[in-house]
């Protein structure tokens, strides 16, 4: 391993692989991608939803939070108490821009990877429907809609009949749905595979099944990445370490960054005929039928360190939530379950770009629950940073700054 690379990317999940692909498009840089599949690797565990609006307003993965809130409200009402204020969990505008810009890239990216590199990551236009069961759900949906007036053309309301028309297997108990028409899905495995394979075809060296064990520095400059198979020299290291990014950053810079694992458990059905036209979020879970017919149900939000065990009460919660929405599932089988580790940050915003006072080091981490969705824009931005170009979006809110995380309440999941 005596090669010297312009760029070494540590981490081959959706974000690392996207960086490798976007950096390799012009075929002028020497790029290496180092990857080791650790248990809980989030890209592999992912549902593959491109829920740009859904995730930004706290649906999709955010629903477990809402469920707790909804329960509190019902209890308060039963006890004649005062209702706590409805406050959907909405991320700042710059994150909407970030997520939507990435989302808009997928149709052409899909075509490009298919035509140039012959891999189809199964991009499907599905929409994401928030299925409502009662007045609380509707009030919550109203709050969401009023929080995103500039996106009203992407929000379509369905009454009970219209919902039944579009999703005949959804329970008749549902009173309607709010559909985010621009939120779609991909096969997460194939997305990573297509980024990686396209990068390889463009000349990126893949160091697969290779574990990073340290980072070589000279003064304040990163000069190489140590692995269990030897050291790889580089001018720039890109930290795409997912839930393990903080350790990589510490090796490279001497500082940790507040990226930590947030466990999500997932339930998967056996392959079924098509029972869903679009992806669904309820107040219990999200549900997506993948291209091969499997119905994927997620996901819990737990801080349990690097633990990836599945626990029955949580799995039951997800399975029951899905059966409530799609009663036909009660006649179907669960094939497998697993847990992934999202790279969480306290403000739920990724950490991107260089670090003050450190040369040859770039963060591409902390994507929490939107790594698949935001991989395309992240790859684009990182490529621009490496080449010293003006960035497509303002990088400032994404840069690592200790002040970003000061005074933040602990997150809702505990």
């Amino acid at each position: 391993m005596n090669k010297n690379y312009d760029v070494v990317i540590t981490g081959g999940g959706a974000v690392g692989a996207a960086c490798a692909y976007f950096l390799s498009r012009e075929k002028d840089l020497k790029v290496a991608l180092v990857d080791f599949k650790k248990p809980g690797n989030a890209s592999r565990a992912s549902a593959g939803g491109l829920w740009a609006i859904g995730e930004s307003v706290g649906l999709g993965c955010g629903v477990i939070f809402f469920k707790t809130l909804s329960k509190q409200m019902n209890e308060a009402k039963e006890n004649g108490g005062e209702l706590p204020p409805l406050r959907p969990h909405q991320l700042p505008d710059f994150f909407f821009d970030f997520a939507l810009t990435s989302n808009n890239m997928f149709p052409s990216l899909h075509e490009e990877l298919r035509e140039k590199h012959n891999i189809d990551f199964k991009f499907e236009e599905t929409g994401l429907k928030f299925v409502m069961y009662d007045e609380h759900d509707r009030a919550y949906a109203d709050q969401i809609a009023s929080g995103i007036p500039h996106l009203s053309d992407q929000v379509k309301w369905l009454n009970a009949d219209e919902l039944r028309e579009e999703e005949p297997y959804v329970t008749p108990e549902a009173i309607g749905a709010m559909n985010f028409t621009c939120d779609h899905q991909v096969s997460p495995f194939l997305l990573i595979d297509s980024y990686t394979e396209a990068a390889r075809q463009n000349g990126v060296d893949l160091y697969l099944n290779t574990m990073v064990t340290g980072v070589e520095t000279q003064g304040n400059r990163v000069v190489g990445v140590r692995t269990d198979k030897g050291t790889i020299s580089c001018n720039t290291m890109i930290n795409a370490g997912g839930a393990w990014a903080s350790q990589l950053c510490e090796w490279a810079t001497g500082h940790t960054i507040p990226v930590y694992p947030v466990k999500g458990q997932i339930v998967l059905s056996e392959k079924l005929p098509k029972i869903m036209r679009g992806c669904i979020s309820t107040s219990d879970c999200y549900i997506a039928q993948k291209d091969n017919g499997e119905v994927l149900i997620g996901s819990t939000t737990e801080e349990k360190g690097y633990d990836t065990t599945n626990t029955l009460p949580e799995l039951k919660g997800l399975a029951q939530g899905a059966s409530k929405c799609l009663p036909i599932l009660k006649e179907m089988n669960i094939k497998r379950t697993w847990a992934g580790l999202r790279p969480g940050t306290r403000d739920e915003i990724p950490i991107l770009g260089p670090m003050d006072g450190i040369e040859g080091y770039i963060n591409a981490c902390g994507h929490f629950r939107t790594g698949i969705l935001c991989s395309a824009i992240t790859g684009t931005l990182i490529n621009e940073i490496v080449r010293g170009k003006e960035t497509t979006l303002d990088l400032k809110p994404f840069l690592y700054d200790p002040k970003r995380f000061e005074d933040l309440e602990p997150p809702f999941y505990g």
Binding site: D35, N310, T337
Partner: protein
């Protein structure tokens, strides 16, 4: 805690599980056996699933062993609680199991756990291997032993090891026309193991008598031959066999065909480790048995109160399994204070000696039957490797060409191993491909997932 109330759970009521339970009972310790079948005995000794007066196709040697295992259970019945038709589908917390009886889920806690879940058959893909009528040899045997049906009218057996002559005899006695038996290894390799085989003189004699039975009845036995492909419209109608060289590469210039209606394929077994994996026990790669739990001398796993016995800890057959079950039980008895150290030592030593004899014998056969990677060339580009996900050999090849070096990446790139069987069928081939490419040491393991077998959504309702 009083040791009296300590719960010993045994998963799998085959030779290992029953021997363990009987050994515990001898020292006054109660245990509970969980088994997925309708009868105890495991795949080898379960016997017919319906009533029958006699079993003329099964030899006396087998019937004696079966009786002796049944007696072990019957003589200790009052100390052995048995829960049949129940599968363990995953762990529940630190010291619990989740059980499924196909209708509902339940939890069961243990203080000590013995996992004796046995093995499953090693799949060897070749063109036509998914045609109806192409069966694994253990499955063939189960049909004659438990189902009491003839698997076919005219059959051939291809594979390696001591099961070949045994099943050939059973088939012949059951009235099946056995076209031929094709043993992949050469006779010279078997001759080299003569000394090892004398560790079990009775078994060896038994084997010799089976060989002479086949000869007497004009069933041809071909050393150094193996399967090439199976063909047929709706089901297998014809097979092609050819001489195998030392690497088990088929010499197609000498291939010949045979018309028949079914075929038994048996190139060995793989430890059944879905539960040991879900319990997060440490595992190590074994070329012979695939991944197996790492054990200490007394069958203790990396988790202090969990023991593994029988083929789950490496393929050794039912005689070895019985000794391993006994050794695990003795260790538990000692830890529960039911026996003193001296009794433990002398009984364990005796069992270990027995186990060693089995191993010496078995290892002779294992060396003779050691799988050679030339067989990996048998599948065509279009041969399905992962049956659940319909992954073809060409897709596996493409992933290797792209530089995949570990099983997880292979799974993600091709979906091999992501189906209902969780890779039980395709993993053996995939691991061998990594071995062939020089990546065996770091290829990683295709991890089992909860639930080990599919469960219905309805079972997840409260």
């Amino acid at each position: 805690m009083s040791t009296k109330n300590q719960q010993v759970i045994i998963v799998g009521g085959g030779a290992a599980g029953i021997s363990a339970a009987a050994q515990l009972a001898e020292f006054g310790i109660s245990s509970k056996i969980i088994d997925e079948a309708t009868k105890l005995g495991g795949v080898v000794y379960r016997g017919p699933l319906r009533h029958t007066e006699e079993l003329p196709h099964l030899d006396e040697f087998y019937q004696k062993s079966q009786k002796s295992l049944q007696d072990k259970y019957h003589n200790n019945k009052d100390k052995i609680d048995v829960q049949l038709e129940t599968s363990v589908i995953g762990p529940d917390g630190a010291n619990g199991l989740i059980l499924s009886d196909q209708k509902s889920l339940s939890s069961l806690n243990y203080d000590y756990l013995i996992l004796s879940t046995g093995c499953h058959e090693r799949s060897v893909p070749f063109p036509g291997w998914t045609l109806p009528g192409v069966m694994m040899m253990g499955g063939v045997q189960l049909q004659i032993k438990s189902g009491l049906v003839r698997p076919g009218e005219k059959m051939a057996l291809c594979g390696t090891g001591p099961l070949l002559p045994l099943i050939a005899c059973q088939l012949h006695k059951a009235g099946v026309e056995v076209e031929g038996v094709y043993e992949a290894s050469s006779f010279t390799r078997l001759a080299k193991e003569a000394v090892a085989l004398l560790n079990k003189p009775m078994l060896t004699l038994n084997g010799l008598s089976m060989m002479s039975y086949l000869k007497r009845n004009n069933v041809p036995f071909h050393y150094g031959w193996g399967i090439v492909k199976a063909e047929g419209k709706e089901a297998v109608e014809e097979i092609t066999v050819a001489p195998y060289d030392k690497e088990w590469k088929a010499d197609l210039s000498k291939a010949r065909t045979a018309k028949l209606d079914s075929i038994g394929i048996g190139y060995g077994f793989v430890a059944r480790t879905q539960i040991t994996q879900l319990l997060n026990l440490e595992h190590e790669y074994s070329y012979q048995s695939s991944y197996v739990p790492r054990l200490s001398g007394n069958q203790r796993s990396s988790k202090d109160n969990v023991y593994v016995a029988g083929d789950t800890s490496g393929i050794l057959g039912s005689d070895g399994a019985a000794f391993e079950g006994q050794i695990a039980a003795l260790d538990i008895a000692l830890r529960m204070g039911a026996i003193d150290a001296a009794t433990h030592a002398s009984r364990t030593n005796k069992a270990r000696k027995g186990l060693q004899r089995v191993r010496n014998f078995r290892f002779g056969f294992d060396r003779f039957s050691e799988r050679q990677l030339g067989m990996l060339d048998l599948p065509d580009d279009d041969t399905v490797i992962c049956r659940c996900e319909n992954v073809k050999k060409s897709q596996i090849d493409a992933a290797f060409e792209r530089g995949v070096k570990d099983i997880t990446s292979l799974k993600m790139a091709t979906r091999a191993g992501l189906g209902d069987c969780q890779g039980k069928i395709c993993s053996a081939y995939c691991y061998d491909r990594f071995k062939q490419a020089g990546h065996a040491e770091r290829m990683g393991q295709l991890r089992a997932r909860f639930p080990v077998e599919p469960i219905s959504f309805a079972m997840m309702e409260d």
